[in-house]
């Protein structure tokens, strides 16, 4: 059986990624062995000693940021580079049902890679888009979301269903869209809808609670197998309870975000 300290997590970055430190720290906080890895280290464009192989890792994280300056579209260039150099390896990683998490820009990358929502399996071209917020602005603040998963997503199994948590959002392109008119319904039917933006009472709510205008107030989704999670809000910024703006009024033992990473450890060490 795997122990938490045996879990090697690849925190994958390129130029412009800027949440790799927090993401690395989140996996450390739950006892894993994470490593920040530049894409070039996986593609062989690095000195021999720093080359890495994706298959040596047990989990993969795409952190937030503005990879490659968010040119073309958020996450598009990271996805194109990853796909051209190691598309097969990433798909094999996902097919092996190893955990993959994409946060914020990482979610955009997973969508651009065609790994989410993957309602009908992974696809060569994106089947969804994370487009400009309805407000037309960068929205940056703590936000509430509710765990909607009925158990499929391995990243929220330690979080009771219906529990409202607070993670910060910080994005300008987070409106989840699809060409499928039954998109949200299908996500729900498949148990792929993981987080929904809610108001402080835990009721699904529009702007400003939903910062971007996503249909169905969707904040995070997983693939049909439940091992790939993409979400716009930042659980890795909610590790310490003091990062919540109401921490003096609602004392908590730990930040809400830890549950996401702990769920992954639990799934791998079970």
């Amino acid at each position: 059986m795997m122990r938490p300290e045996d879990i090697r997590v690849c925190v994958l970055r390129i130029e412009g990624t800027n949440c790799e430190e927090e993401t690395h720290r989140a996996f450390q906080a739950v006892g894993c062995d994470p490593e920040m890895v530049h894409l070039n280290q996986l593609t062989g464009h690095a000195p021999q000693a720093s080359r890495r192989s994706l298959e040596d890792y047990d989990a993969l994280a795409f952190p937030g940021g503005f990879s490659a300056g968010d040119y073309v579209r958020g996450g598009a260039i990271f996805a194109a580079r990853a796909k051209s150099a190691l598309g097969g390896e990433i798909n094999a990683f996902v097919e092996a049902e190893k955990p993959v998490i994409g946060i914020c820009n990482g979610f955009q990358i997973l969508v651009e890679l065609g790994l989410l929502p993957a309602l009908d399996g992974p696809s060569d071209v994106p089947t969804a888009a994370l487009f400009t917020n309805d407000s037309g602005r960068f929205e940056c603040r703590p936000s509430y979301m509710r765990n909607e998963s009925r158990g499929r997503c391995l990243f929220t199994r330690k979080l009771p269903r219906g529990r409202t948590v607070m993670f910060p959002v910080a994005h300008a392109e987070g409106k989840l869209m699809s060409a499928d008119p039954r998109f949200v319904e299908r996500l729900e039917d498949n148990d792929q809808l993981v987080f929904r933006y809610v108001d402080p009472e835990g009721r699904p709510a529009g702007y400003p609670w939903n910062p971007n205008g996503s249909e169905g107030n969707v904040a995070g989704i997983c693939n049909p197998a439940g091992n790939v999670l993409g979400m716009m809000p930042h659980p890795e910024r909610s590790l310490d309870p003091c990062t919540a703006p109401d921490w003096t009024r609602r004392p908590k033992k730990e930040g809400d975000g830890l549950a996401v990473f702990r769920s992954m450890v639990d799934a791998l060490t079970r």
Binding site: A80, P126, A129, F131, G136, A179
Partner: protein
């Protein structure tokens, strides 16, 4: 050799907050009677190919990187 102009537009029905905000700002500056403002992106590619070969290469670029087919459409013009 052709220079390709690749235009990426939002599909009909996709909200365009950038266009709407720009329209509002233009109206505040006193430009009256604007019916609509739509944002779009243009890439100019000195492609080193001609004719159908150039067009096909540009379309492949759009499919693989420049456009997200869920929300965007593209058109290519050779100059």
């Amino acid at each position: 050799m052709a220079v390709a102009e690749i235009k990426i537009e939002l599909k009909k029905g996709v909200a365009d907050p950038e266009g709407q905000n720009t329209k509002k700002a233009l109206e505040l500056l006193g430009f009256e009677g604007l019916r609509s403002v739509r944002s779009m992106k243009c890439f100019q590619v000195d492609i080193g190919l001609e004719g159908d070969e150039a067009l096909e290469a540009c379309q492949e670029m759009c499919r693989r990187l420049l456009a997200n087919p869920v929300i965007q459409s593209y058109s290519v013009e050779l100059k």
